[in-house]
Protein backbone atom coordinates (compact mmCIF):
# COMPACT_ATOMS: atom_id res chain seq x y z
CA UNK A 1 0.00 0.00 0.00
CA UNK A 2 1.57 3.23 -1.15
CA UNK A 3 -0.89 5.74 0.26
CA UNK A 4 0.94 8.49 2.02
CA UNK A 5 -0.99 10.54 4.53
CA UNK A 6 0.65 13.72 3.24
CA UNK A 7 -0.69 13.08 -0.24
CA UNK A 8 -4.28 13.35 -1.38
CA UNK A 9 -6.08 10.03 -1.64
CA UNK A 10 -7.89 11.09 -4.76
CA UNK A 11 -7.28 13.82 -7.29
CA UNK A 12 -9.34 14.41 -10.39
CA UNK A 13 -8.93 17.18 -12.91
CA UNK A 14 -11.35 18.17 -15.67
CA UNK A 15 -13.14 14.82 -15.86
CA UNK A 16 -15.62 14.60 -18.72
CA UNK A 17 -18.00 11.87 -19.79
CA UNK A 18 -20.77 11.92 -22.35
CA UNK A 19 -23.10 9.25 -23.72
CA UNK A 20 -23.73 10.45 -27.25
CA UNK A 21 -25.11 13.99 -26.99
CA UNK A 22 -25.92 13.61 -23.33
CA UNK A 23 -23.11 15.13 -21.27
CA UNK A 24 -23.07 13.38 -17.90
CA UNK A 25 -19.94 14.90 -16.40
CA UNK A 26 -18.74 18.25 -17.65
CA UNK A 27 -15.36 19.03 -16.13
CA UNK A 28 -15.16 17.68 -12.60
CA UNK A 29 -12.26 18.65 -10.32
CA UNK A 30 -11.76 16.91 -6.99
CA UNK A 31 -9.04 16.85 -4.36
CA UNK A 32 -9.70 14.57 -1.41
CA UNK A 33 -7.21 14.31 1.47
CA UNK A 34 -6.34 10.86 2.80
CA UNK A 35 -8.27 9.76 5.87
CA UNK A 36 -11.30 11.94 5.19
CA UNK A 37 -14.89 11.38 4.12
CA UNK A 38 -16.00 13.07 0.94
CA UNK A 39 -19.63 13.17 -0.15
CA UNK A 40 -20.85 13.79 -3.66
CA UNK A 41 -24.37 15.11 -3.23
CA UNK A 42 -26.95 15.21 -5.97
CA UNK A 43 -30.32 13.90 -7.10
CA UNK A 44 -30.89 10.84 -9.29
CA UNK A 45 -29.37 11.28 -12.71
CA UNK A 46 -26.91 13.98 -11.66
CA UNK A 47 -23.94 11.79 -12.66
CA UNK A 48 -22.88 10.54 -9.22
CA UNK A 49 -22.78 6.87 -10.17
CA UNK A 50 -20.92 7.64 -13.39
CA UNK A 51 -18.26 9.46 -11.38
CA UNK A 52 -17.87 6.46 -9.05
CA UNK A 53 -17.70 4.08 -12.01
CA UNK A 54 -14.96 6.14 -13.64
CA UNK A 55 -12.87 6.51 -10.48
CA UNK A 56 -13.22 2.80 -9.66
CA UNK A 57 -12.01 1.78 -13.18
CA UNK A 58 -15.38 0.35 -14.25
CA UNK A 59 -15.75 2.74 -17.17
CA UNK A 60 -13.42 5.19 -18.88
CA UNK A 61 -13.77 8.94 -18.85
CA UNK A 62 -13.69 10.77 -22.19
CA UNK A 63 -11.15 13.22 -20.81
CA UNK A 64 -9.46 14.19 -17.56
CA UNK A 65 -6.64 13.17 -15.24
CA UNK A 66 -7.34 11.02 -12.20
CA UNK A 67 -5.13 9.55 -9.51
CA UNK A 68 -6.52 7.27 -6.81
CA UNK A 69 -4.25 6.22 -3.93
CA UNK A 70 -1.34 7.60 -5.94
CA UNK A 71 -2.03 5.56 -9.09
CA UNK A 72 -3.19 6.79 -12.45
CA UNK A 73 -6.69 5.47 -13.11
CA UNK A 74 -6.24 5.20 -16.88
CA UNK A 75 -2.63 4.01 -17.12
CA UNK A 76 -2.48 1.73 -14.12
CA UNK A 77 -6.02 0.47 -13.42
CA UNK A 78 -4.80 -2.72 -11.71
CA UNK A 79 -2.81 -0.77 -9.12
CA UNK A 80 -5.91 1.33 -8.46
CA UNK A 81 -8.06 -1.82 -8.17
CA UNK A 82 -5.63 -3.25 -5.61
CA UNK A 83 -6.01 -0.14 -3.44
CA UNK A 84 -9.76 0.44 -3.58
CA UNK A 85 -12.98 -1.17 -2.44
CA UNK A 86 -16.33 -0.50 -4.06
CA UNK A 87 -19.83 -0.96 -2.70
CA UNK A 88 -22.17 -0.12 -5.53
CA UNK A 89 -25.78 0.89 -5.53
CA UNK A 90 -26.87 -2.61 -6.48
CA UNK A 91 -26.01 -5.36 -4.09
CA UNK A 92 -22.81 -7.10 -5.15
CA UNK A 93 -23.10 -10.29 -3.14
CA UNK A 94 -23.42 -13.83 -4.43
CA UNK A 95 -26.93 -14.73 -3.33
CA UNK A 96 -26.36 -18.47 -3.78
CA UNK A 97 -23.48 -18.47 -1.29
CA UNK A 98 -23.71 -17.94 2.46
CA UNK A 99 -22.43 -14.75 4.06
CA UNK A 100 -19.34 -16.57 5.25
CA UNK A 101 -18.68 -18.10 1.83
CA UNK A 102 -19.01 -14.68 0.22
CA UNK A 103 -16.31 -13.34 2.52
CA UNK A 104 -14.06 -16.36 1.95
CA UNK A 105 -14.50 -15.88 -1.81
CA UNK A 106 -13.23 -12.32 -1.44
CA UNK A 107 -10.33 -13.52 0.74
CA UNK A 108 -9.34 -16.02 -1.99
CA UNK A 109 -9.55 -13.37 -4.69
CA UNK A 110 -7.29 -11.13 -2.62
CA UNK A 111 -4.87 -14.08 -2.31
CA UNK A 112 -4.81 -13.97 1.48
CA UNK A 113 -2.77 -16.73 3.13
CA UNK A 114 -4.88 -19.72 4.23
CA UNK A 115 -4.65 -18.99 7.93
CA UNK A 116 -5.61 -15.34 7.51
CA UNK A 117 -8.62 -15.86 5.28
CA UNK A 118 -10.75 -17.64 7.89
CA UNK A 119 -9.75 -15.15 10.58
CA UNK A 120 -10.62 -12.30 8.28
CA UNK A 121 -14.07 -13.72 7.55
CA UNK A 122 -14.75 -14.41 11.25
CA UNK A 123 -13.72 -10.90 12.26
CA UNK A 124 -15.84 -9.21 9.63
CA UNK A 125 -18.91 -11.34 10.42
CA UNK A 126 -18.63 -10.30 14.05
CA UNK A 127 -17.98 -6.65 13.27
CA UNK A 128 -20.98 -6.39 10.94
CA UNK A 129 -23.32 -8.32 13.23
CA UNK A 130 -23.75 -11.21 10.80
CA UNK A 131 -22.58 -14.11 12.98
CA UNK A 132 -26.06 -15.65 13.30
CA UNK A 133 -26.68 -15.46 9.57
CA UNK A 134 -23.16 -16.52 8.56
CA UNK A 135 -24.23 -19.98 7.37
CA UNK A 136 -27.39 -18.88 5.56
CA UNK A 137 -27.49 -18.08 1.83
CA UNK A 138 -27.34 -14.36 1.16
CA UNK A 139 -30.64 -14.47 -0.80
CA UNK A 140 -32.41 -14.92 2.53
CA UNK A 141 -30.89 -11.72 4.00
CA UNK A 142 -32.86 -8.53 4.65
CA UNK A 143 -31.90 -5.35 2.79
CA UNK A 144 -29.86 -4.06 5.71
CA UNK A 145 -28.02 -7.36 6.19
CA UNK A 146 -27.22 -7.56 2.48
CA UNK A 147 -25.82 -4.07 2.56
CA UNK A 148 -23.69 -4.90 5.60
CA UNK A 149 -22.39 -8.07 3.95
CA UNK A 150 -21.68 -6.07 0.80
CA UNK A 151 -19.60 -3.57 2.77
CA UNK A 152 -17.86 -6.34 4.71
CA UNK A 153 -16.84 -7.93 1.39
CA UNK A 154 -15.46 -4.58 0.26
CA UNK A 155 -13.25 -4.46 3.35
CA UNK A 156 -11.62 -7.88 2.89
CA UNK A 157 -8.65 -6.58 0.91
CA UNK A 158 -8.01 -3.75 3.39
CA UNK A 159 -8.62 -1.07 0.77
CA UNK A 160 -7.18 2.41 1.37
CA UNK A 161 -9.90 4.18 -0.57
CA UNK A 162 -13.52 3.04 -0.36
CA UNK A 163 -16.27 4.08 -2.77
CA UNK A 164 -19.81 3.89 -1.45
CA UNK A 165 -22.49 4.60 -4.03
CA UNK A 166 -25.66 5.60 -2.16
CA UNK A 167 -24.88 3.32 0.79
CA UNK A 168 -28.20 3.82 2.58
CA UNK A 169 -30.71 4.20 -0.25
CA UNK A 170 -33.63 1.87 0.37
CA UNK A 171 -32.69 1.08 3.97
CA UNK A 172 -35.04 1.51 6.91
CA UNK A 173 -34.12 4.25 9.43
CA UNK A 174 -32.49 1.85 11.90
CA UNK A 175 -30.34 0.10 9.29
CA UNK A 176 -29.45 3.52 7.98
CA UNK A 177 -28.15 4.66 11.35
CA UNK A 178 -26.21 1.41 11.77
CA UNK A 179 -24.63 2.00 8.37
CA UNK A 180 -23.66 5.54 9.35
CA UNK A 181 -21.94 4.28 12.49
CA UNK A 182 -20.06 1.67 10.47
CA UNK A 183 -18.91 4.22 7.91
CA UNK A 184 -17.65 6.66 10.57
CA UNK A 185 -15.91 3.75 12.26
CA UNK A 186 -14.02 2.94 9.07
CA UNK A 187 -12.40 6.35 9.11
CA UNK A 188 -11.65 6.59 12.81
CA UNK A 189 -10.56 2.95 13.31
CA UNK A 190 -9.02 2.06 9.96
CA UNK A 191 -7.96 5.45 8.65
CA UNK A 192 -9.34 4.84 5.19
CA UNK A 193 -10.53 7.50 2.79
CA UNK A 194 -14.20 7.36 1.86
CA UNK A 195 -15.84 8.68 -1.29
CA UNK A 196 -19.60 8.40 -0.95
CA UNK A 197 -22.50 9.55 -3.04
CA UNK A 198 -25.85 10.42 -1.58
CA UNK A 199 -29.15 12.13 -2.30
CA UNK A 200 -29.60 13.14 1.33
CA UNK A 201 -28.11 16.27 2.85
CA UNK A 202 -28.52 14.90 6.36
CA UNK A 203 -26.44 11.87 5.41
CA UNK A 204 -23.68 14.03 3.94
CA UNK A 205 -23.97 16.30 6.96
CA UNK A 206 -23.63 13.38 9.35
CA UNK A 207 -20.74 11.65 7.63
CA UNK A 208 -18.71 13.89 5.39
CA UNK A 209 -15.81 16.20 6.11
CA UNK A 210 -16.38 17.81 2.74
CA UNK A 211 -19.38 17.85 0.44
CA UNK A 212 -19.58 18.65 -3.26
CA UNK A 213 -22.92 19.33 -4.91
CA UNK A 214 -23.25 17.87 -8.40
CA UNK A 215 -25.71 19.53 -10.76
CA UNK A 216 -26.04 18.81 -14.47
CA UNK A 217 -22.54 17.38 -14.70
CA UNK A 218 -20.82 20.19 -12.83
CA UNK A 219 -19.87 20.78 -9.23
CA UNK A 220 -21.85 23.84 -8.24
CA UNK A 221 -20.68 24.09 -4.63
CA UNK A 222 -18.09 22.51 -2.44
CA UNK A 223 -17.32 22.83 1.24
CA UNK A 224 -18.13 21.57 4.71
CA UNK A 225 -21.74 20.96 5.66
CA UNK A 226 -21.76 24.23 7.60
CA UNK A 227 -20.44 26.20 4.66
CA UNK A 228 -23.07 24.73 2.36
CA UNK A 229 -25.91 25.43 4.74
CA UNK A 230 -24.75 29.01 5.09
CA UNK A 231 -25.04 29.30 1.31
CA UNK A 232 -28.56 27.94 1.49
CA UNK A 233 -29.39 30.70 3.93
CA UNK A 234 -30.85 28.55 6.67
CA UNK A 235 -34.38 27.25 6.89
CA UNK A 236 -37.72 28.86 7.45
CA UNK A 237 -40.57 28.81 9.92
CA UNK A 238 -44.19 28.30 8.91
CA UNK A 239 -46.89 29.89 11.05
CA UNK A 240 -50.57 29.09 10.79
CA UNK A 241 -53.28 31.39 12.12
CA UNK A 242 -56.83 30.76 13.25
CA UNK A 243 -58.44 33.65 11.39
CA UNK A 244 -57.81 35.94 8.42
CA UNK A 245 -57.47 39.03 10.62
CA UNK A 246 -54.59 37.59 12.63
CA UNK A 247 -53.03 36.28 9.46
CA UNK A 248 -53.21 39.68 7.82
CA UNK A 249 -51.96 41.50 10.87
CA UNK A 250 -49.00 39.18 11.27
CA UNK A 251 -48.12 39.55 7.61
CA UNK A 252 -47.74 43.28 8.15
CA UNK A 253 -45.77 42.89 11.37
CA UNK A 254 -43.20 40.28 10.29
CA UNK A 255 -40.66 39.98 7.46
CA UNK A 256 -42.58 37.46 5.45
CA UNK A 257 -40.94 35.24 2.83
CA UNK A 258 -44.25 34.03 1.42
CA UNK A 259 -47.89 33.91 2.42
CA UNK A 260 -50.81 31.63 1.65
CA UNK A 261 -54.20 33.35 2.16
CA UNK A 262 -56.25 30.18 1.84
CA UNK A 263 -54.32 28.06 4.31
CA UNK A 264 -53.77 31.14 6.50
CA UNK A 265 -50.04 30.49 6.70
CA UNK A 266 -46.95 32.69 6.58
CA UNK A 267 -43.35 31.70 6.04
CA UNK A 268 -40.60 33.65 7.72
CA UNK A 269 -36.86 33.11 7.48
CA UNK A 270 -35.27 31.51 10.53
CA UNK A 271 -33.04 28.74 11.79
CA UNK A 272 -35.46 27.28 14.28
CA UNK A 273 -33.13 27.67 17.28
CA UNK A 274 -34.78 28.45 20.61
CA UNK A 275 -33.55 32.05 20.85
CA UNK A 276 -34.92 33.18 17.49
CA UNK A 277 -38.15 31.23 17.97
CA UNK A 278 -38.72 32.92 21.32
CA UNK A 279 -38.05 36.34 19.78
CA UNK A 280 -40.53 35.61 17.03
CA UNK A 281 -43.26 34.49 19.40
CA UNK A 282 -42.61 37.40 21.75
CA UNK A 283 -43.10 39.77 18.88
CA UNK A 284 -46.44 38.21 17.98
CA UNK A 285 -47.49 38.19 21.64
CA UNK A 286 -46.84 41.92 21.97
CA UNK A 287 -49.35 42.65 19.20
CA UNK A 288 -51.75 39.96 20.55
CA UNK A 289 -51.78 37.68 17.55
CA UNK A 290 -52.56 34.05 18.29
CA UNK A 291 -50.56 31.44 16.38
CA UNK A 292 -52.45 28.24 15.79
CA UNK A 293 -49.54 26.10 14.64
CA UNK A 294 -45.81 26.48 14.08
CA UNK A 295 -43.47 24.36 11.94
CA UNK A 296 -39.70 24.64 11.73
CA UNK A 297 -38.23 23.68 8.37
CA UNK A 298 -34.49 22.91 8.38
CA UNK A 299 -32.57 23.12 5.09
CA UNK A 300 -32.58 19.92 3.05
CA UNK A 301 -31.37 18.91 -0.38
CA UNK A 302 -34.26 20.75 -2.00
CA UNK A 303 -33.21 24.00 -0.37
CA UNK A 304 -29.56 23.48 -1.26
CA UNK A 305 -30.52 22.84 -4.84
CA UNK A 306 -32.94 25.67 -5.00
CA UNK A 307 -30.42 28.07 -3.54
CA UNK A 308 -27.55 26.91 -5.74
CA UNK A 309 -29.27 26.28 -9.04
CA UNK A 310 -32.67 27.92 -8.89
CA UNK A 311 -34.20 24.54 -9.74
CA UNK A 312 -36.05 22.19 -7.45
CA UNK A 313 -34.63 18.67 -7.37
CA UNK A 314 -37.59 17.28 -9.30
CA UNK A 315 -36.60 19.21 -12.43
CA UNK A 316 -33.23 17.48 -12.74
CA UNK A 317 -32.34 15.15 -15.57
CA UNK A 318 -34.22 11.88 -15.22
CA UNK A 319 -32.26 8.81 -14.17
CA UNK A 320 -30.64 7.06 -17.10
Amino acid sequence: MTTNLDHPALVATAVRKAYGDHVVLNGIDLDIPAGSVFALLGPNGAGKTTMVQILSTLIRADAGEMRVAGHDVVRDPDAVRAAIGVTGQFSAVDGFLTGEENLLLMADLHHLPRRERRQCATDLLARFDLVDAARKPAVTYSGGMRRRLDLAMTLVGRPRVIFLDEPTTGLDPRSRRTMWEIIRGLVTDDGVTIFLTTQYLDEADRLADRIAVLHQGKIVAQGTAEELKRQVGGGHITLRFTDARGHDHAAQTLDVVSRDDEALTLQVAGQGDVRSLRALLDRLDRVSITVDELQVHTPDLDDVFFALTGNPVAEQEPAR
Binding site: I59, S91, A92, D94, G95, F96, L97, L105, L109, H111
Partner: protein, 263 residues
Amino acid sequence: MSTATHALTDSATMLRRQLRHMLRYPTLTLTAAGVPVIFLLLFVYVLGGILGSGLGGSSGGRDAYVNYVVPGIILMTAATAAQGTAISVAIDMTEGIVARFRTMAIARVSVLTGHVLGSLTQTLLSMAMVTGVALLVGFQPTADLGGWLGVIGVIVLIIFALTWLSVALAMVARSVAAASNMLTPLMILPMMGSGFVPTDSMPAGLRWFAEYQPFTPFIETLRGLLMGTPMGNNAILAIGWCALIALGGYLWARKLYNREPTR
Protein backbone atom coordinates in the same frame (compact mmCIF):
# COMPACT_ATOMS: atom_id res chain seq x y z
CA MET B 1 2.88 -13.36 -8.05
CA SER B 2 2.83 -13.02 -11.79
CA THR B 3 -0.32 -12.39 -13.77
CA ALA B 4 -0.21 -15.94 -15.16
CA THR B 5 -0.28 -17.58 -11.72
CA HIS B 6 -3.02 -15.16 -10.72
CA ALA B 7 -5.05 -16.23 -13.73
CA LEU B 8 -4.75 -19.85 -12.57
CA THR B 9 -5.48 -19.31 -8.87
CA ASP B 10 -8.30 -16.86 -9.63
CA SER B 11 -9.84 -19.27 -12.14
CA ALA B 12 -9.61 -22.04 -9.53
CA THR B 13 -11.35 -19.76 -7.00
CA MET B 14 -14.12 -18.99 -9.48
CA LEU B 15 -14.44 -22.69 -10.31
CA ARG B 16 -14.89 -23.45 -6.60
CA ARG B 17 -17.64 -20.83 -6.54
CA GLN B 18 -19.45 -22.53 -9.41
CA LEU B 19 -19.06 -26.00 -7.87
CA ARG B 20 -20.50 -24.69 -4.63
CA HIS B 21 -23.52 -23.38 -6.52
CA MET B 22 -23.84 -26.78 -8.18
CA LEU B 23 -23.71 -28.70 -4.90
CA ARG B 24 -26.12 -26.34 -3.18
CA TYR B 25 -28.65 -26.42 -6.01
CA PRO B 26 -28.49 -29.94 -7.50
CA THR B 27 -31.75 -29.24 -9.36
CA LEU B 28 -29.67 -27.33 -11.92
CA THR B 29 -27.77 -30.51 -12.80
CA LEU B 30 -30.91 -32.64 -12.67
CA THR B 31 -32.84 -30.26 -14.94
CA ALA B 32 -30.10 -30.41 -17.55
CA ALA B 33 -30.45 -34.21 -17.52
CA GLY B 34 -34.24 -34.23 -17.28
CA VAL B 35 -35.16 -33.01 -20.76
CA PRO B 36 -32.84 -35.45 -22.60
CA VAL B 37 -34.09 -38.34 -20.44
CA ILE B 38 -37.70 -37.50 -21.35
CA PHE B 39 -36.75 -37.39 -25.03
CA LEU B 40 -34.90 -40.70 -24.66
CA LEU B 41 -37.93 -42.39 -23.12
CA LEU B 42 -40.33 -40.87 -25.67
CA PHE B 43 -38.24 -41.81 -28.64
CA VAL B 44 -37.40 -45.30 -27.42
CA TYR B 45 -40.80 -46.40 -26.08
CA VAL B 46 -43.24 -44.33 -28.18
CA LEU B 47 -41.48 -44.10 -31.52
CA GLY B 48 -38.62 -46.58 -31.20
CA GLY B 49 -40.45 -49.66 -32.49
CA ILE B 50 -41.19 -48.10 -35.85
CA LEU B 51 -38.09 -45.93 -36.15
CA GLY B 52 -35.85 -48.90 -35.36
CA SER B 53 -37.36 -50.97 -38.14
CA GLY B 54 -36.72 -48.12 -40.55
CA LEU B 55 -33.00 -48.13 -39.79
CA GLY B 56 -32.51 -51.00 -42.19
CA GLY B 57 -30.28 -53.11 -39.93
CA SER B 58 -30.55 -56.85 -39.52
CA SER B 59 -32.22 -56.82 -36.08
CA GLY B 60 -34.32 -53.62 -36.26
CA GLY B 61 -37.02 -52.62 -33.80
CA ARG B 62 -36.78 -50.89 -30.46
CA ASP B 63 -33.52 -52.56 -29.37
CA ALA B 64 -31.71 -51.31 -32.45
CA TYR B 65 -33.18 -47.85 -32.07
CA VAL B 66 -31.90 -47.41 -28.46
CA ASN B 67 -28.40 -47.96 -29.71
CA TYR B 68 -28.96 -45.56 -32.58
CA VAL B 69 -30.47 -42.68 -30.61
CA VAL B 70 -28.32 -42.55 -27.46
CA PRO B 71 -25.39 -40.59 -28.99
CA GLY B 72 -27.86 -37.92 -30.11
CA ILE B 73 -29.49 -37.84 -26.68
CA ILE B 74 -26.08 -37.45 -25.02
CA LEU B 75 -25.38 -34.44 -27.23
CA MET B 76 -28.81 -33.05 -26.48
CA THR B 77 -27.65 -33.01 -22.85
CA ALA B 78 -24.72 -30.81 -23.90
CA ALA B 79 -27.27 -28.40 -25.39
CA THR B 80 -29.63 -28.33 -22.39
CA ALA B 81 -26.65 -27.87 -20.06
CA ALA B 82 -25.38 -25.02 -22.23
CA GLN B 83 -28.71 -23.35 -21.63
CA GLY B 84 -28.11 -23.68 -17.88
CA THR B 85 -24.67 -22.13 -18.32
CA ALA B 86 -26.13 -19.20 -20.23
CA ILE B 87 -28.68 -18.63 -17.48
CA SER B 88 -26.10 -18.64 -14.70
CA VAL B 89 -23.76 -16.33 -16.65
CA ALA B 90 -26.68 -13.98 -17.35
CA ILE B 91 -27.64 -13.95 -13.65
CA ASP B 92 -24.07 -13.00 -12.78
CA MET B 93 -23.93 -10.27 -15.37
CA THR B 94 -27.22 -8.69 -14.35
CA GLU B 95 -26.36 -8.69 -10.64
CA GLY B 96 -23.85 -6.41 -8.98
CA ILE B 97 -21.34 -9.18 -8.26
CA VAL B 98 -19.61 -8.86 -11.65
CA ALA B 99 -19.22 -5.10 -11.15
CA ARG B 100 -17.42 -5.99 -7.92
CA PHE B 101 -15.14 -8.47 -9.68
CA ARG B 102 -14.34 -5.86 -12.32
CA THR B 103 -13.14 -3.39 -9.70
CA MET B 104 -10.86 -5.95 -8.06
CA ALA B 105 -7.27 -6.70 -9.04
CA ILE B 106 -8.03 -10.21 -10.29
CA ALA B 107 -7.34 -11.89 -13.60
CA ARG B 108 -10.29 -10.60 -15.63
CA VAL B 109 -10.95 -13.73 -17.64
CA SER B 110 -11.14 -15.87 -14.47
CA VAL B 111 -14.82 -15.00 -14.02
CA LEU B 112 -15.52 -16.62 -17.38
CA THR B 113 -13.13 -19.56 -17.06
CA GLY B 114 -14.74 -20.32 -13.70
CA HIS B 115 -18.11 -20.55 -15.42
CA VAL B 116 -16.75 -22.68 -18.27
CA LEU B 117 -14.93 -25.17 -16.04
CA GLY B 118 -17.89 -25.34 -13.64
CA SER B 119 -20.26 -26.02 -16.51
CA LEU B 120 -17.94 -28.64 -17.91
CA THR B 121 -18.10 -30.53 -14.62
CA GLN B 122 -21.84 -30.09 -14.32
CA THR B 123 -22.51 -31.19 -17.90
CA LEU B 124 -20.36 -34.30 -17.51
CA LEU B 125 -22.40 -35.20 -14.44
CA SER B 126 -25.67 -34.65 -16.28
CA MET B 127 -24.40 -36.78 -19.17
CA ALA B 128 -23.38 -39.55 -16.80
CA MET B 129 -26.96 -39.58 -15.45
CA VAL B 130 -28.42 -39.65 -18.96
CA THR B 131 -26.07 -42.46 -19.96
CA GLY B 132 -27.07 -44.36 -16.82
CA VAL B 133 -30.75 -44.16 -17.79
CA ALA B 134 -29.82 -45.18 -21.36
CA LEU B 135 -28.10 -48.33 -20.05
CA LEU B 136 -31.21 -49.14 -18.02
CA VAL B 137 -33.48 -48.92 -21.05
CA GLY B 138 -31.32 -51.28 -23.07
CA PHE B 139 -28.43 -49.28 -24.52
CA GLN B 140 -25.63 -51.75 -25.29
CA PRO B 141 -22.45 -49.98 -26.34
CA THR B 142 -19.71 -52.10 -27.85
CA ALA B 143 -16.85 -49.74 -26.95
CA ASP B 144 -13.80 -51.07 -25.12
CA LEU B 145 -11.80 -49.03 -22.58
CA GLY B 146 -9.98 -47.13 -25.35
CA GLY B 147 -13.29 -46.38 -27.00
CA TRP B 148 -14.74 -45.00 -23.77
CA LEU B 149 -11.67 -42.80 -23.23
CA GLY B 150 -12.18 -41.52 -26.78
CA VAL B 151 -15.84 -40.85 -25.99
CA ILE B 152 -14.93 -38.84 -22.90
CA GLY B 153 -12.27 -36.92 -24.81
CA VAL B 154 -14.64 -35.98 -27.63
CA ILE B 155 -17.42 -35.08 -25.22
CA VAL B 156 -15.13 -32.81 -23.18
CA LEU B 157 -14.10 -31.02 -26.37
CA ILE B 158 -17.70 -30.58 -27.47
CA ILE B 159 -18.89 -29.30 -24.07
CA PHE B 160 -15.91 -26.97 -23.85
CA ALA B 161 -16.74 -25.46 -27.24
CA LEU B 162 -20.50 -25.16 -26.65
CA THR B 163 -19.94 -23.67 -23.19
CA TRP B 164 -17.70 -20.86 -24.48
CA LEU B 165 -20.32 -20.16 -27.12
CA SER B 166 -23.12 -20.05 -24.57
CA VAL B 167 -21.08 -17.75 -22.28
CA ALA B 168 -20.71 -15.31 -25.17
CA LEU B 169 -24.39 -15.59 -26.13
CA ALA B 170 -25.42 -15.01 -22.51
CA MET B 171 -23.51 -11.74 -22.50
CA VAL B 172 -25.06 -10.63 -25.77
CA ALA B 173 -28.49 -11.32 -24.29
CA ARG B 174 -28.30 -8.78 -21.42
CA SER B 175 -31.18 -10.45 -19.57
CA VAL B 176 -31.73 -13.85 -18.03
CA ALA B 177 -34.83 -14.70 -20.06
CA ALA B 178 -33.23 -13.65 -23.34
CA ALA B 179 -30.13 -15.71 -22.53
CA SER B 180 -32.27 -18.77 -21.97
CA ASN B 181 -34.15 -18.28 -25.25
CA MET B 182 -31.00 -17.70 -27.25
CA LEU B 183 -29.74 -21.21 -26.49
CA THR B 184 -32.96 -23.01 -27.43
CA PRO B 185 -31.96 -23.56 -31.10
CA LEU B 186 -28.97 -25.54 -29.83
CA MET B 187 -31.38 -28.19 -28.52
CA ILE B 188 -33.02 -28.59 -31.90
CA LEU B 189 -29.74 -29.11 -33.76
CA PRO B 190 -29.22 -32.80 -32.77
CA MET B 191 -32.68 -33.49 -34.26
CA MET B 192 -31.84 -31.67 -37.46
CA GLY B 193 -28.76 -33.85 -37.84
CA SER B 194 -28.15 -37.56 -37.62
CA GLY B 195 -29.21 -37.73 -33.96
CA PHE B 196 -32.63 -39.33 -34.27
CA VAL B 197 -32.83 -40.64 -37.85
CA PRO B 198 -30.21 -41.11 -40.59
CA THR B 199 -29.76 -37.98 -42.69
CA ASP B 200 -30.35 -39.84 -45.97
CA SER B 201 -34.01 -40.27 -44.98
CA MET B 202 -34.50 -36.47 -45.05
CA PRO B 203 -35.67 -34.25 -47.95
CA ALA B 204 -32.87 -32.69 -50.01
CA GLY B 205 -32.61 -29.20 -48.44
CA LEU B 206 -32.80 -30.44 -44.88
CA ARG B 207 -30.41 -33.27 -45.66
CA TRP B 208 -27.85 -30.80 -46.98
CA PHE B 209 -28.16 -28.76 -43.76
CA ALA B 210 -28.05 -31.90 -41.59
CA GLU B 211 -24.90 -33.18 -43.23
CA TYR B 212 -22.97 -29.94 -42.94
CA GLN B 213 -23.96 -28.74 -39.47
CA PRO B 214 -21.53 -29.53 -36.62
CA PHE B 215 -23.83 -31.83 -34.64
CA THR B 216 -23.78 -34.51 -37.33
CA PRO B 217 -20.00 -35.12 -37.14
CA PHE B 218 -20.26 -34.86 -33.32
CA ILE B 219 -22.96 -37.55 -33.29
CA GLU B 220 -21.28 -39.77 -35.91
CA THR B 221 -17.98 -39.66 -34.00
CA LEU B 222 -19.69 -40.59 -30.73
CA ARG B 223 -21.70 -43.30 -32.47
CA GLY B 224 -18.54 -44.69 -34.07
CA LEU B 225 -16.69 -44.77 -30.76
CA LEU B 226 -19.64 -46.24 -28.80
CA MET B 227 -21.12 -48.65 -31.34
CA GLY B 228 -18.29 -49.27 -33.76
CA THR B 229 -20.13 -47.78 -36.76
CA PRO B 230 -17.91 -46.36 -39.57
CA MET B 231 -16.75 -42.82 -38.73
CA GLY B 232 -15.16 -41.72 -42.02
CA ASN B 233 -13.67 -38.27 -41.60
CA ASN B 234 -16.23 -37.30 -38.97
CA ALA B 235 -13.73 -37.37 -36.07
CA ILE B 236 -11.49 -34.84 -37.81
CA LEU B 237 -14.52 -32.69 -38.69
CA ALA B 238 -15.77 -32.87 -35.10
CA ILE B 239 -12.42 -31.79 -33.67
CA GLY B 240 -12.20 -29.01 -36.23
CA TRP B 241 -15.69 -27.74 -35.39
CA CYS B 242 -14.88 -27.86 -31.65
CA ALA B 243 -11.68 -25.87 -32.11
CA LEU B 244 -13.48 -23.30 -34.24
CA ILE B 245 -16.48 -22.89 -31.92
CA ALA B 246 -14.32 -22.84 -28.76
CA LEU B 247 -11.90 -20.26 -30.11
CA GLY B 248 -14.64 -18.11 -31.60
CA GLY B 249 -16.74 -18.34 -28.42
CA TYR B 250 -13.75 -17.55 -26.21
CA LEU B 251 -12.65 -14.50 -28.19
CA TRP B 252 -16.22 -13.24 -28.48
CA ALA B 253 -16.93 -13.77 -24.77
CA ARG B 254 -13.69 -12.06 -23.77
CA LYS B 255 -14.46 -9.08 -25.97
CA LEU B 256 -17.98 -8.76 -24.57
CA TYR B 257 -16.73 -9.05 -21.00
CA ASN B 258 -14.12 -6.35 -21.50
CA ARG B 259 -16.55 -3.95 -23.11
CA GLU B 260 -17.75 -1.13 -20.88
CA PRO B 261 -20.79 -1.96 -18.83
CA THR B 262 -23.68 0.34 -19.66
CA ARG B 263 -26.28 1.03 -17.09
